[in-house]
Structure formats: C-alpha cells, structure tokens
Symmetry: C2
DNA sequence: TCTTATTTTAGATTAATCCTTAATTTATAT
DNA sequence: ATATAAATTAAGGATTAATCTAAAATAAGA
C-alpha cells in the first residue's frame, strides 16, 4: 500500500456514483499528487478490478468507466452525453437457464439501459424539427 | 447502393451469429474486394447501425462487435477468448420502473452474461493449479 | 449526356490503453 | 539499523481501434 494507491482509492471513494473514466481519475489524483503517472493509475485500477473491489464498466462510450459500488445494480446511460445513473434490478429475474449456458462458467451479468437524458432528448427534438 | 456496400452486407449475412469485429469484417470483405478501404467499411457499418438493421455491441473486449440479428436477445461472452453466444431473454422481465428512469427516454436494454467458455475455464484451472 | 450529390480511398490523425525499463520505494531478514 | 529482496512507480514510447481529411471516383437524376 503506497501513497499513490491511497490517493487513487480516496478519489474513487469521493467520486462514488459518478462513474468516472480512467482519465478523470488520473486528473483528480494529480490534483493532490502532481507527479503521479498514467501507468500507476491504470495499474492500480486494474488491480482493484482484479481484487473485485472495483467494477470496470464498458457502457459503449469509448472509455471505460469505473464504479466503486460493487453491489448488484444496473446502469442507465445517455447515448447523447454519456451521463450514467445507477438503477436497481432484480438479479433473480436474470438467470441463464442451464440449457443456454453453452457450457460456460457464468461469472456475472451486466444490464445496461440506454436512452437519452432530459437535456439530450430535448436537444434531439430541436435538431429534428429544425433539420 | 454500391458494390462495396453489397459486399459488406453479404459478409454480414454470411457471418450471422459470429459477432465479428469491424476488422474481421474488413478482412473478409477484402477477400472478394481487395482494394476496399478501412473507412468504407466503418462508414457502411455505421450507416447500417443508424438504419437499425445492424447492432453494434460493446461486450467489453476492446473492439466493437457487429450483429445482423436484431431480434431481442442477450449475449454470453467468454472473458478469456471473447467467444460470443446468443442467449434468449425475457425483455418483459427487464423494464425500468418509471421512478427509476431519471427522466430518460429509454431506447433499449442490453444484457451481457459474462464468464468462461469450456476451453478457457479448463485452461484457467490448469494455470491456477500449476501457479 | 451532363450535372450534381454521394461514396470511396489512402493516409494522416486521434485517443485510450498498454508496455518497457530503469529508478525508487516498500517489505523482510539479519 | 542495515542489507537484501521484492514490489511499485514514472516517463515516455508503442499499440491500435476508430476517426478524419480532402481529393478522386462513382452513382443518381435531369
Ligand atoms: Mn454504478
Ligand atoms: Mn447476437
Ligand atoms: Zn444526455
Ligand atoms: Zn473462452
């Protein structure tokens, strides 16, 4: 456990719920530790993911998002601006019946609702009516 | 409608169920049309996605996967090798209750089961017992 | 055919992520 | 405390999927 890791974990805890990207985490850590390197942030994030204390979310917006909240939940993402919200979901309702596992050892299930947030939805409406 | 597009669509139809990456599609198209460019493949894929006749899947393995099967289904992906299988799912069981939409216009829902295919699971076991 | 709009192309560019390697830091054992 | 070994960090280069650019080619329409 090094000062760098402490700082990274601190930032993750402070940004709980915001689903930051690796770059955003890097920037926030650099505020308190200006000499930290890119590689250290990436390495530490991967280690935390490996340990199971951090979720790496691929929500389809190019960059990975990180989530310190490892409780069972789904995500709602805005296809316009990338805004992410946590949403509850019933993990019981989503179990793969044995005849459909193809012999896989199933580890988990990710659920992503996609749509447009109020801001992006109104913008889209405006674009459509004017174009 | 150009010969390039016809060739790309042909490849997509032939590879139904294999969830190819853009690069794999590019390679297969190049077999029958050696001078086709990268940009044309990407442009065409994006147009088909825009039209709604092709799904762009972010299964978390770096590259996007494309799926000509636009019927309601979920995916099962191997975290080891990237193998993808289609799995049925009950879309009725997954509707976001109004109090959890945060005002979003919800477009769709993506469900991804993650795990290890038989080959990768046995490999992992081997690695663990020997390391 | 002639004109216009669209599409294609090659190559450069971007941007996130990963890798390499040497220096530093931390942990462990005298 | 000191020496040794192991783990971590930093700088910057490499990688790579994807995007952009601008000119050339092609398709569509009159
Ligand atoms: Mn979350
Ligand atoms: Mn599929
Ligand atoms: Zn939005
Ligand atoms: Zn596998």
């Amino acid at each position: 456990m090094t000062p760098q890791r402490r700082a990274i974990i601190q930032v993750l805890l402070e940004s709980a719920g915001s689903h930051p990207t690796a770059e955003q985490i890097f920037t926030r850590v650099r505020d308190v530790m200006p000499d930290i390197s890119h590689a250290t942030v990436y390495n530490t994030l991967h280690e935390l993911v490996e340990m199971g204390t951090l979720l790496e979310l691929n929500l389809g917006m190019r960059e990975q998002r990180y989530d310190i909240n490892t409780t069972d939940h789904a995500h709602l993402i805005c296809l316009g601006c990338g805004r992410v919200e946590d949403v509850p979901y019933d993990s019981e309702a989503l179990t793969l019946s044995p005849e459909h596992t193809h012999g896989f050892q199933v580890v988990d299930c990710r659920v992503i609702f996609r749509g447009y947030c109020p801001a992006c939805a109104s913008q889209e409406r405006h674009l459509r009516s004017s174009g």
